[in-house]
Subunit: 107 residues, 2 copies
């Protein structure tokens, strides 16, 4: 068993991934940096909710910001989170295939 500190950090990371809105934001960011308004639109959140969510992700250094004029470009900055997202999404795709499309034809 990892020590208490590591378990708490891990639980924290999972906590960041556990909100659907925040999760959608991170999934969008897997494709590369995005502006706040674009993230909001892609994730189906209000711009305020998006800004609040990004603030939390920033505080945990999961995302980084690049400012250009009045725009703010956010990007995924945490390799651990990126890895977990990749694994999770790969599994989702795989499960969908074997459970819903047993013959492998999805489209």
């Amino acid at each position: 068993m990892p020590d208490e500190r590591e378990v708490a950090d891990l639980a924290d990371v999972f906590g960041l991934l556990s909100d659907p809105g925040r999760l959608r934001l991170m999934v969008v960011l897997l494709d590369g940096e995005r502006r706040v308004a674009d993230l909001a639109a892609a994730a189906g959140l209000s711009e305020s909710a998006t800004s609040h969510a990004l603030r939390i992700l920033r505080a945990h250094r999961v995302v980084s910001v690049r400012r250009a004029g009045r725009m703010a470009y956010y990007a995924l900055a945490d390799a651990h989170v990126r890895l977990l997202l990749d694994v999770a999404l790969a599994h989702v795709a795989h499960s969908e295939m074997i459970h819903d499309h047993p013959d492998g034809r999805v489209g």
Copy 2:
């Protein structure tokens, strides 16, 4: 972007992993099935809190129960969760090495 249903399911799984107590329970279960009292002791939770946590994990089919007399043996029953735990723990170990023990000697 996966559809809304899949994102919600994913967020749900991450939510299960996001509580330190529940996370410790699942980490212990990685090693094989355990009785409730043993899980409680290993995770540092009261037996009541453990039972409540296991109830939630059972409801989400993350764990399964094998009953033998008055004992209940719990086991990890979800491959997705097991995979995420493996990845997360591997990364924790790796990060600890490169951040805290750059020369690779951990003990």
